[in-house]
């Protein structure tokens, strides 16, 4: 379980702001304490700050793209020592014993994984608090190693936006000889383009916006397909071996399913809500699949970070001060960021 030594709850009345030191956890024998250098701002943070999903418990400290340096380790910790770079993503614990955990898919833990924030801990009444904070204490098994060559600030978003896009591309074996579409160019989509390109696929940015298309080429897209261009969409019907769909809201998947080759899959990673009507005929005529995917397991997250180290991949970020978070949330809603806000935690006053 994670617990910060300083906490921050955006968008909440003053009396709900988490006080400094709330539920502070001592560093146990298997724990790693991290001084947080940067924390990425995920759309999920805003949903929780606003209680959009009805699950928020205040005081609430968002943040699950956490990166910094180890400041202390417990006696049983073998993999980290003070001064090491370290990172924490969306999970800080899971049962460790169920089939999913044994399959290195802790995100699908049968008991429910412990999320980095707003998640109950085994201590009754306790919650986890996230990375908008000075420090965090997390059990070693859920702490990631950060390759030395990666700049910390751009690495923070890899812990959620990165693994969320890497995992399905990896699971569906994206690689050379494949034509891969990435729908949507935001925090997730821009990582999807970088990864699909680095994996050797012919990468196509699918977007409503010509200017986003141009941006995507800078990120590694080989080609741009404007989803508003019905002629181009018709011409490219059946031509995609895999599509990563990062649209974060309810939408009509029909135009994208139409782009899939027979036997191919479109994986949704942005929307976690009802989709517009799915016509079974689109799946039947071509043995197509509509799938979803949630972040990735801890081992795969480490694999993703190592892949980023080898390929020099980080997220494109805009660094903000902690006191700019509400403004950042407003810009996030408008899609006004290329492509991820990251909070410089040195700006959080203790």
């Amino acid at each position: 379980m994670s617990q910060p030594t300083a906490a921050y709850a955006a968008h909440q009345p003053k009396d709900l702001l988490a006080p400094f030191g709330i539920d502070r956890r001592e560093v146990g024998p298997g724990d790693v304490q991290i001084e947080i250098a940067f924390c990425g701002v995920c759309h999920t943070d805003l949903h929780f700050a606003n209680n959009d999903w009805g699950a928020s418990q205040y005081p609430l400290v968002p943040g699950h793209e956490v990166i910094g340096h180890v400041t202390a380790v417990g006696a049983e910790v073998k993999g980290f020592r003070a001064g090491d770079r370290a990172a924490v993503g969306c999970m800080v614990d899971s049962c460790g014993e169920c089939e999913a955990c044994r399959d290195d898919l802790e995100q699908y833990c049968y008991e429910g994984m412990t999320a980095t924030y707003n998640s109950p801990t085994p201590d009754p009444g306790s919650l986890t608090f996230g990375g908008y904070s000075k420090r965090i204490v997390v059990k070693e098994e859920f702490v990631l190693r950060v390759p030395d060559n990666l700049e910390l600030v751009g690495t923070a978003p890899l812990l959620c936006a990165g693994i969320t896009t890497y995992s399905p591309l990896n699971h569906w074996k994206v690689g050379p000889g494949m034509r891969v579409g990435v729908v949507g160019l935001g925090g997730l989509g821009h990582m999807g383009v970088k990864f699909a390109h680095a994996m050797g696929a012919h990468t196509v940015m699918i977007t409503t916006s010509a200017s986003k298309g141009e941006d995507a080429k800078q990120l590694g897209a080989d080609e741009v397909l404007l989803s508003t261009d019905t002629e181009a969409m018709a011409q490219q019907a059946g031509s995609f071996d895999f599509i990563l769909n990062t649209i974060p809201v309810r939408h009509d998947v029909a135009p994208y399913l139409n782009l899939l080759h027979y036997n191919a899959t479109m994986c949704v990673v942005g929307a976690v809500e009802p989709l517009d009507t799915v016509n079974a005929a689109q799946l039947v005529f071509g043995r197509k699949s509509l799938a979803g995917s949630l972040i990735g397991g801890i081992a795969e997250t480490q694999q993703m970070l190592d892949f980023c180290g080898e390929h020099g991949i980080t997220s494109d970020v805009e660094t903000i001060r902690m006191d700019q978070i509400n403004e950042a949330y407003e810009r996030l809603v408008k899609g006004d960021v290329k492509y991820r806000f990251v909070i410089d935690m040195a700006t959080l006053e203790e």
Copy 2:
């Protein structure tokens, strides 16, 4: 292309009934002529007879579960000779050159496969006519061999109901150690149960009807799950490695997606229409897939027939006379058949 020497169009005014010998085709050098012993009655036949999909062209001769004996072969035919058992399924031709055809997936031919009935032929203005007929002429590549040990009448439905269920079970590698659900017990579902059982999977019939559940056990189901039993449905959440969904109409897939294990797929083979709202969250939390599948290629259809020969599998049928077809269609709509009507073609008067 197929062309019958006798034709029958149910549910149509007398003057639209296909006359005997319409578009009769001589046996060309690469063709096989089959005297039809039996033809299965597929729900698709009824949709076409009624023009439910707006694509019917009259006169129309339904029937794509065709079985009988070879009566003549062209000079270039090597695989069949007069007297051989032979069968024809849903397709009688395809381009043979596109990627799908080269992949033995003629059902997804880029040019569109030529269906056994109501499909344009290369001769302008001509249509194919199906198996509710005395004879059919089909190019050799689309004629299937029938194992000697299988009774012809029960083998006819394998050509559509059989391959439609065998192909996804085969594609998703159903076998021992897997828990496989079959939703719906009709023409497709009863074959799904037989195949999943024969492939060695722990086979669960998922149905709204306790009596259908008992019937399914006779067909090889190891277990029955009543979809109306919310407690049982909740208990078995996440427990299925694959689900074959044979429901033939629009429905809510949510209760079935909830049954899938992480990484698992539900494949729709019955419905070719819009499904009720699909919630992406159900796919995301568990990396689940919703897929579809259409019949199978010719090579896989032969593989299925050979599998049936090895395992002694045929369809459970009710044999009817040709003049009972309208009554059979009415009973089909009510689901009043165990599990497939098959027309005895000796009862069609020439």
